[in-house]
Symmetry: C3
Subunit: 262 residues, 3 copies
Amino acid sequence: MDATSLRAASTALRDSAPLVHCLTNTVVQTITANALLAIGAAPAMVDDPAEAGEFAAIASAVLVNVGTVQQRTAEAMRLAARAANEAGTPWVLDPVAVGGLTFRTELAADLVELRPTVVRGNASEVLALAGAGKGGRGVDSTADPDDALEAAGELARRTRGVVAVSGPVDVVTDGDTVVRVGGGSPLLTRTTGAGCALGAIVAAYVATAGDLVTATVAAHAHVALAAEAAAALADGPGTFAIRWLDALDAVDGETLLRAQLS
Amino acid sequence: MDATSLRAASTALRDSAPLVHCLTNTVVQTITANALLAIGAAPAMVDDPAEAGEFAAIASAVLVNVGTVQQRTAEAMRLAARAANEAGTPWVLDPVAVGGLTFRTELAADLVELRPTVVRGNASEVLALAGAGKGGRGVDSTADPDDALEAAGELARRTRGVVAVSGPVDVVTDGDTVVRVGGGSPLLTRTTGAGCALGAIVAAYVATAGDLVTATVAAHAHVALAAEAAAALADGPGTFAIRWLDALDAVDGETLLRAQLS
Amino acid sequence: MDATSLRAASTALRDSAPLVHCLTNTVVQTITANALLAIGAAPAMVDDPAEAGEFAAIASAVLVNVGTVQQRTAEAMRLAARAANEAGTPWVLDPVAVGGLTFRTELAADLVELRPTVVRGNASEVLALAGAGKGGRGVDSTADPDDALEAAGELARRTRGVVAVSGPVDVVTDGDTVVRVGGGSPLLTRTTGAGCALGAIVAAYVATAGDLVTATVAAHAHVALAAEAAAALADGPGTFAIRWLDALDAVDGETLLRAQLS
């Protein structure tokens, strides 16, 4: 993939300011909303069955993240995913800690049947979701992205969508094309919600870019390049998270030309 | 309005450290608590029917923000508003995204019948709450505060309270007097929860100041002046939010004399 | 107590990266997760009955904080505490605002019967939990840690665990030994969640250190020393909270030798 295609994705995002409907875990709602605002998108967190379907139908994209899921929000997630499908709206599934816990693993399996536009997780989660592994412990991954490549490809063909596996080098695939995104910073794993916010950023990009793989890669490159800029200014994980938000705002189409793709 | 009256409101707030009971959305609980601590108030987030009425009865003021409302917290909001009324405690309604979603729009209409001391929202929300518009998309406003002035005045007369409409220039009215508060920074709209925290800051001010319009204007001026100070030190939306908390702490009665009132 | 024993506790923590299962209030989930990541632990927030028992059984330690408790999460807390006990896993109880509100006060009394490994609260909360006081208003304490020393000792003997009372000087006791931890910064009380994060840090330390009093003291010293470093770099409560996370990361076994113990 040529990094120049990422520049167009960035422009499309900034021009359209997509409304991203997030059904996400309560730990990361704030950083997710702030990350979306920083990249020029509009976040909205509506996670109750009373409103989730109604709102998904008018959103530009939907994020479903099962990090702190419960019966009530699980129902909202099903309604939102169905409403998104009916409206032809793209939606992203982030299967946090799937594999390790029964309730969310069953929910995630149901959600996969609804064919998420993009699945974004770590290697353990993607392996578990594809039925090929037992998952990690909580949000940690005990596997490398490339270990999950085959499972990711299979899952992508099953959902006819894209699967992105986060790690030191991220892997994005639609079951045919495979793109790797390098760079970033280890500090991304030392601040809560960076990975979850990436899921929301993917949703924002797929709302506005034509090609799904390009949009997903652009989101990953945006996050990685912002992390590099933030790490250069950070004195530790606290200042890193704040500088990362500043850098998400500063990254533009020209910056994305420096993405480490392979 | 003369800015010297704001100085007295600031002193009253710092001297009494009001306990502000917040029933607010989960995205902004942290920044709301931190903003209240920064201005010298004491925050407490108690949003379950099992405790909300009991706590509202002992609080200095109550904030009801419907941002991520659900059946359970809606019931807690009704109980808290009634307990506040019975105790003669002021309470603030923030009708986040009202107009755009059925469940919260009906809830907000019920809450208006309980006569909130202050309503704080953007123009779209105030228009929708007054029955004069269809609301914006999520937290965005598609209208200007002055477009909502007539609706705000009507609503204020109906609740016999104050209505504040946030925007580039904020408008505060009790249906008779109209005060405009200028200044601030566009970065306030690039960080999640700044507007919601303003609702809580209004609650803290009305808990301690004699005149409702003065208290509400003081809260808006406090936020705007802190935003200007923060913007001068910020490198982007991340550092802005942090510097804004520092500045909320630093603003005092003397600072409020520089408020841009008209 | 000799500060050299704290150095070993620090090393044990960094070497084992304990998985801390947090059932905590929604206001402080983010700072709690970030504080745990900063000290080298792995946080996971799972607070629904559908998963809490299953997860507590595989965690290294469990935190139960009743700050925004409701029926659903109260049930999850009971399940997690029982699962922790069955697995021989240490767990920490943070009785936020207990004494002042009926529902949580009854829940906390039940949880004490399940014998938490460590109870961490302010003086008002510990007095209320021990049946010796009426509690403060919300998260504020209206009493001094030493006022709660007798109640803390009694409670510790009843639970056969450790009780830590936070204040300007923290008091840690198992009902026999008493250790005081000085230092810290008043800014810790101006940022939401610092005390709640301390409860989680205690959980991380008791997961890995042999002696309960030593582990609890090490956690308090870690927080206090980081607060001193952060205060030196802070311009207000906003920058303090961020610098505190940086400093939690930077504190190591050598730093702990400077703990103010008595």
